[in-house]
Amino acid sequence: MSLKLKALLKSPWVFHLSTGSCNNCDIETLDCLTPRFDIERFGMLLVGSIKHADVLLVSGSCNRMSVERMKELFEQVPKPCLVVAIGTCAGSRGIFKDSYNCPVPLDKIIPVDVYIPGCPPKPEAIIAGAVKLIEKVGSTL
């Protein structure tokens, strides 16, 4: 497992998953790929299929409909897989805590490695979170 993890950290491919967010975190995540921030210089690449992913970027408060899909999708990711919760909604459900349709926070559904707070987090914060994730996992090897 650790060899796999070591290989993964060189160039983590990310899959972006929105579980009922307001779109801001998703747009800010995409912003990281564009010229001003350019997260690809860290070897990160947004992939189209979850089967290619090393890292899951999850944004949004999970609602009843997406919880089932989340579990299914998490089973499909090749392991080891790291999970990043982007934004306050994914971290703690934030303003949607009292909503009838957001029953559980994300970390009760799947294991989360890094939380990036903010509504929405700035691209700089997302990049800092990604770097911290690499450092954190790298130090355990």
Binding site: L17, S21, N24, T29, R69, L73, S99, N101
Partner: protein, 394 residues
């Protein structure tokens, strides 16, 4: 030839948000389309009814990140409609500035994504690079790149400092040459002409029948813009043109949005240069019983809010209708008869925004109820049924 059903979604790279399309195809041609939403429903209307009138602005702001001005704008107008009150001219100007800044970055975002879908990643990168400048302006004015929290019933929360204005104007000016270049690159490109012209045509009659809104309808020749039809904010103070084109295809939808960006820059600069002095907050104490409606022109079309007050400090009923909700059914007119490869850009051409739209999902796959509020269920179902009948009686 047998029919094949192609499911797309709910999680896929086409758009950032979860949604589920079923395309029924015969060979290459799409013969039917069905859209299923509900992956983004968060119960905002009920949440808003738990909050006070002032705090609700923060909830409605989070309906959609890209429309994080349109929803509070419509909501505050609805609250101000409940009882007669005067909003100061300065706060009207500030509201207009924030709303137009949002329109500018939203259209740039769409342009970038459209380029991305077509395989023109250069357009994607250019447009999003320009968008960063606008987000900088918004950060200077409001303190955040998105979710500006500028609105409150009766005025705005934060004033614009006069020393910030020249910086903002110079930043807005700095994107104009690149925007002109981008406009030429997109509108004169022969490949884009071949790819987009005559694709996904929505006729004038279809736009009327489906009650399409915003740039989607304006591309089909329907001159419909809340900013002109029922002026609010500071829009009647300056000269600007409503962009209307005739063909209704994807190309025209792009043209409308690109040309609208230049109008927006005009409005923005006028407002920043002519910002009147005065109070920014009317300091509302109590909201009397009554009901009010507020509608404004969001980047995607008309956003409509209804607020009912029973004299307490929180809304008794709050109803939201987002523009994409009205633009969704136009897929029935535009996608049918097109090839699968064109379906992507046609689906993207209305600039769909699912997190805005998800007001109506009342049932999950097995028909279990997700709502508790009986009133909401009834209203939502009636509305869903109406849309279903209009979309083909399924």
């Amino acid at each position: 030839m047998g029919k094949t059903i192609i499911p797309i979604g709910p999680y896929h790279p086409l758009q950032e948000e979860p949604e589920f399309f079923t395309l029924t195809v015969e060979g290459e041609t799409v013969v039917d389309i069905d859209v299923r939403i509900g992956y983004n429903h968060r119960g905002i209307e009920k949440l808003s009814e738990m909050k006070t009138f002032e705090n609700s602005t923060f909830v409605v702001e989070r309906i959609c990140g890209i429309c994080s001005t349109s929803h509070p704008f419509a909501y505050t107008r609805a609250v101000e409609d409940i009882f007669p009150m005067e909003v100061s001219m300065r706060s009207k100007y500030i509201r207009t500035i924030i709303a137009e800044g949002e329109r500018l970055h939203s259209h740039l975002l769409w342009l970038g994504l459209a380029g991305h879908f077509l395989g023109y990643n250069t357009v994607y990168m250019w447009a999003w690079k320009l968008r960063e400048e606008i987000l900088d302006v918004m950060e200077i004015l409001s303190g955040n790149r998105n979710n500006y929290a500028m609105f409150k019933p009766g005025g705005v929360r934060r004033d614009i400092r006069s020393e910030d204005i020249p910086i903002c104007i110079s930043k807005i000016d700095s994107i104009v040459p690149t925007l002109v270049m981008l406009k030429k690159a997109v509108l004169d490109d022969p490949v884009l002409h071949a790819r987009l012209k005559g694709v996904g045509i929505m006729s004038y009659q279809d736009a009327i029948d489906f009650s399409a809104l915003g740039p989607t309808s304006r591309a089909s020749g329907v001159a419909r813009d809340v900013r002109k039809d029922s002026p609010y904010g500071a829009y009647q103070e300056m000269e600007w043109d409503m962009i209307v084109t005739k063909n209704g295809d994807v190309f025209d939808k792009a043209v409308v949005r690109i040309l609208e960006m230049f109008e927006t820059i005009k409005i923005l600069k006028y407002c920043l240069n002519n910002l009147p002095d005065g109070e920014i907050d009317a300091k509302i104490k109590d909201v009397p019983p009554g009901e009010g409606i507020g509608h404004i022109e969001a980047p995607r079309g008309e956003t409509f809010h209804y607020v009912k007050s029973d004299g307490t400090n929180r809304p008794m009923r709050h109803k939201v209708r987002a523009p994409t909700f009205m633009n969704f059914p136009t897929y029935k007119a535009t996608v049918k008869g097109q090839t699968i490869s064109d379906a992507t850009i046609i689906l993207a051409a209305i600039d769909p925004c699912y997190c805005c739209t998800e007001r109506i999902a009342v049932k999950d796959d097995k028909g279990r109820m997700l709502y508790n509020g009986q009133d909401l269920i009834r209203l939502s179902r009636e509305k869903t049924e109406k849309i279903r009948q209009r979309m083909g009686g399924k």
